[in-house]
């Protein structure tokens, strides 16, 4: 119970920061929505941990609900790292295009 309260307090802290960033226009509506859904899902998972335990058992997994959430989090993290890698590659490619323009313009 105490662990759940601590986890919820941490999530409330992150949501408050998210709202502050939105008010300061540091993030756009889409980013705000994605992160809000992310943190609210986390809060829901913490509140409904018993129900998730039952769901995981019903699905036939041997671990507890919290283990299942950790597996999901690891999968999500892998996906985010992959997306980040693609974004970096795109930025790298854009940097090359700019470098080429500068080099060819200097040659004119």
């Amino acid at each position: 119970m105490l662990q759940q309260i601590i986890a919820l307090l941490i999530i409330i802290y992150f949501i408050s920061r998210l709202i502050k960033e939105k008010n300061n226009q540091e993030i756009n509506n889409k980013e705000f929505a994605v992160w809000l859904i992310f943190w609210l899902s986390g809060a829901a998972a913490i509140i409904l941990i018993k129900q998730i335990d039952r769901l995981v058992n019903w699905l036939g997994f041997s671990g507890s609900g919290i283990n299942f959430l950790i597996y999901l989090a690891v999968i999500a993290l892998f996906y985010l790292v992959f997306k980040l890698r693609l974004r970096l590659a795109k930025l790298d490619s854009d940097l090359t295009t700019m470098t080429r323009h500068v080099a060819l313009d200097n040659k004119k």
Partner: protein, 220 residues
């Protein structure tokens, strides 16, 4: 027919003058793309009479080749040769390399280290890395060429206009071969000699090439 040679160079002050001198009898212009060198490569190349284009920062061999190709195309090149600045290729083999294009038998000519017995390969490269690279390009990319990673090639103006190099690093060699076949260009291979200054690409470099090809496909 205007023949240009594109020479990507990174910190090649030891070799650049010799390489440019060796190329001069065979081409009309030599375009050195200095890829962010910190030594005097660019100055020496300019003193040797080459056209020097400077990348302010290092972007990789593939990026430098594409910059050189863009310049050559804009300046009316009919045929472009990709050559290395480290002295591993022989300029004396250029006439054989460009002959199929001059005779209108090919749009792109790849030099192959495997059609000739002249190249002294390091053992690991000959018996491990190259067979693996050949297997990959043959079965996964459908390219049936004897040399999957040759850096010496000649491109007609048609090929230059058709092929844009997107891979900045060493994956450009495979990318050019893939695009040559995808665009149904007339492809010819000719034997070349390579003088290895060092081991060159290692097995890890091969994996990096596969990774770069995949990532480049995904960001398009």
């Amino acid at each position: 027919m205007k023949i240009s040679c594109v020479l990507p160079a990174l910190n090649e002050e030891k070799n650049i003058t010799t390489v440019i001198s060796s190329l001069r009898p065979y081409v009309h212009e030599i375009i050195v793309v200095d890829d962010g060198s910190t030594d005097s490569t660019a100055q020496l190349a300019a003193q040797s009479g080459a056209i020097v284009i400077k990348h302010p920062i290092n972007r990789g061999q593939g990026a430098a080749l594409e910059t050189g190709d863009n310049y050559a195309l804009k300046n009316g090149a009919d045929l472009v040769i990709h050559f290395d600045a480290d002295g591993q290729f022989l300029a004396t083999e250029i006439p054989e390399l460009i002959e199929p294009i001059l005779k209108n038998q090919a749009d792109i000519v790849f030099g192959s280290r495997f059609l000739s017995k002249k190249t002294a390969f390091p053992f690991g490269k000959k018996y491990i890395i190259m067979p693996l690279a050949k297997f990959f390009t043959r079965f996964f990319l459908g390219i049936k060429l004897s040399d999957p990673q040759s850096g010496l090639r000649a491109l007609s103006r048609v090929a230059l206009k058709t092929i844009t190099i997107n891979n900045q690093g060493m994956a450009h060699a495979s990318e050019i071969q893939i695009k040559a076949f995808q665009n149904k260009l007339r492809v010819v291979e000719v034997p070349i000699t390579v003088i290895y200054q060092d081991f060159g690409q290692k097995l890890s470099g091969g994996f990096r090439i596969i990774r770069d090809l995949l990532i480049n496909k995904l960001i398009k």
